[in-house]
């Protein structure tokens, strides 16, 4: 599990004059599910295309099992891709699409038939072999694209926003199916998405990107609970971000009050950003909390209510399963562990 299968070293990529990637260093272990997460234009698809061989990095090396493959064309790499809009061959039926990779390798027809049948079964499309691509729904086309890539038994499967075109319910179902498939087949997945929930649900490792730079890399829990900077805190889940002053280690001041916290190493009396998740703010009776505020709005979100509570200098976003009526004055409590400190515009300290 700890073996580095694929490694990107000091990769940068420039298109004409725009810099798409800068100093990308990242490695992917065998059987890992890695997600590249970021807003559109952040460079995540470019990384995928460099791994697939469709783009050449401007500088840096791409190592596969320790060997540099940067100059290897796509058809010589043991990597397969599921494209965003599937890129199925419209003039071939489902069977021919899936068999395409095997037919190139000149494998005998009977073996091809057997393999195609078993992979179509894996993606729940048994008996769809003779169907034309046009006659399939979006979800079915999606699964043909996955089968077409998987049948070549790649070392790494690259998926470029494969679920973006599906509706919400189908997407949720496919997330679980993909994860199961990955565990069952033991194939390394590199998955690109802009959907933070998708990334947190499916991945072993999440790589958060913005403006062509890796912002943070880690397990979904790490990324969510310990965001390294304001961008990650804001992009992953929802956050309250407020100006504060780090008085000294373990003590921060914001909203006109001093709070205990767990952060150290910022120096004394420094301006900082304080990040607090909406679900980490507890509502108590007026006068019993660390802060006081008035409920300004309540929205029902399904599992919880989202409330905006206005205190003297900040409007807090709070998630709670219990509702407080609009206009009510409440107290707010925040535990030391739930306060995340970041230097202004920069990185958090470890």
């Amino acid at each position: 599990m700890d073996e580095k299968l694929l490694e990107l070293v000091d990769i940068s990529k420039t298109f004409d004059t725009t810099e798409a990637l800068r100093d990308i260093n990242l490695y992917i272990r065998r059987n890992e599910f890695v997600t590249l997460l970021g807003p559109s234009g952040c460079g995540k698809t470019t990384i995928l295309r460099i791994i697939g061989g469709f783009e050449q990095p401007t500088t840096g090396r791409v190592l596969f099992e320790g060997k540099d493959i940067a100059s290897l064309p796509p058809y010589k790499r043991r990597v397969n891709t599921v494209f965003q809009r599937y890129a199925l061959f419209p003039h071939m039926n489902v069977f021919e699409n899936v068999a395409f990779g095997l037919a190139i390798k000149k494998i005998d027809p009977r073996t091809i038939e057997r393999k195609v049948a078993s992979i179509l079964e894996l993606v729940n499309l048994a008996n769809y072999g003779e169907r034309s691509i046009e006659s399939l729904s979006g979800g079915q086309q999606q699964r043909v694209a996955i089968a077409r890539a998987l049948i070549n038994e790649p070392e790494v499967l690259l998926l470029d926003e494969p679920l973006a075109a599906l509706d919400l319910k189908l997407r949720k179902g496919m997330q679980i199916e993909l994860k199961k498939m990955q565990q069952k087949l033991g194939i390394t997945f590199v998955y690109v998405t802009h959907d933070q929930e998708e990334a947190l649900t499916m991945s072993d490792t999440v790589v958060v990107m913005n403006d062509g730079v890796i912002q943070q890399m880690g397990t979904p829990e790490d990324i969510y609970n310990e965001p390294k900077n304001i961008f990650v805190a804001d992009f992953i889940g929802e956050s309250n971000i407020i100006d504060g002053i780090m008085i000294r280690d373990y003590l921060v001041e914001f909203s006109g009050r001093k709070f205990e916290c767990v952060d150290t190493g910022f120096g004394e009396n420094r301006y900082v950003d304080v990040v607090i998740r909406p679900e980490d703010i507890k509502i108590v009776k007026e006068g019993e909390g660390m802060l006081t505020g008035q409920v300004k709005s309540v929205i029902f979100k399904g599992v919880h209510y989202e409330m905006l509570v206005e205190s003297q200098d900040y409007t807090w976003k709070i998630h709670n399963t219990l509702m407080e009526p609009i206009g009510k004055k409440v107290g707010l409590n925040i535990l030391p562990d739930d306060i995340h400190i970041m230097t202004k515009g920069g990185e958090a300290h470890e």
């Binding site: 697939g52 061989g53 796509p74 397969n80 890129a87 061959f89 003039h91 077409r148 890539a149």
Partner: protein
């Protein structure tokens, strides 16, 4: 009443457009040599037509040149279209406009300029020069009919083929070519039709002893009244008409398919 007038007007337009051709077709079956009088139905002009060695030789050249120029310009045009489609937007627009120019250029200018070029290059006028001329004016039409097909291609389809282990050449044959084939066939048919149809450019670029059907008709007409011209013109009109109907049906079917595809995507 209004409806009647509308229809009558359309009828007049078609009458105006097609009357000369119908008169020509009718006279090709006229047993009298005179252009003024109807002497009864006959097929003798058609029979004589197929015994006239001059016309048979012209027919042979017409078909050989049409086939060769259609095939060669189809290959050239398809390769050019693929190259152009890979260009960046600005150079692509320039090259497309340059390719389009010969289509708009009057035939007589194309013909005369080719003639001057052949004189300049010291190439002997004859079969070769006429063939080169036909390839020249056919190629843009092939480009123009293949281009839309290339534009419809999903850009990732070629990459998907490479990704699955296909070499660029294999990907072209198995993935790109089958998808743009309808455009190639349409372009080829169009080129074939235009080649059969052409008079002006052929007239300026041919040499002694080599003439196609249009030139044969022209020289027969200059020599005086000969009802064989009517028969020959009728046959040429019908064959070109049939080819053009095929091309148009193919194109409109294509537009329909494209609209359907867009509708399903939305």
């Amino acid at each position: 009443m209004k409806k009647f007038l509308k229809r009558f007007y359309v009828f007049l337009i078609f009458l105006f457009l097609y009357a000369p051709i119908f008169v020509l077709i009718a006279y090709s079956f006229n047993s009298s040599r005179s252009r003024g009088a109807w002497g009864g139905f006959t097929l003798k002009w058609y029979r004589e037509l197929f015994m006239d060695r001059e016309i048979l030789s012209a027919l042979k050249y017409t078909i050989i040149i049409a086939v060769l120029s259609a095939v060669i310009s189809t290959i050239l045009g398809t390769a050019a279209a693929i190259g152009i489609s890979q260009m960046r937007k600005f150079p692509r627009n320039i090259v497309m406009n340059i390719s389009y120019l010969p289509v708009l250029n009057p035939d007589i200018i194309t013909g005369v300029s080719l003639m001057i070029l052949f004189i300049f290059a010291n190439i002997k006028f004859g079969f070769k020069t006429m063939l080169i001329a036909h390839i020249t004016f056919n190629t843009p039409y092939v480009i123009l009919s293949v281009m839309p097909k290339l534009k419809q291609l999903d850009t990732h389809v070629y990459e998907a083929a490479l990704d699955l282990g296909a070499t660029p050449w294999y990907a072209f044959w198995k993935v790109i070519l089958p998808q743009i084939m309808p455009g190639i066939v349409t372009g080829c048919l169009l080129a074939f039709t235009l080649s059969i149809d052409d008079f002006v450019i052929s007239f300026f670029t041919t040499g002694v002893g080599v003439s196609n059907l249009s030139i044969a008709v022209f020289s027969m007409a200059r020599r005086g009244v000969n009802p064989k011209i009517n028969a020959l013109s009728t046959l040429m009109f019908l064959s070109v008409l049939i080819l053009l109907i095929i091309v148009n049906v193919r194109m409109s079917r294509d537009i329909k398919a494209k609209k359907q595809k867009e509708a399903t995507l939305v």
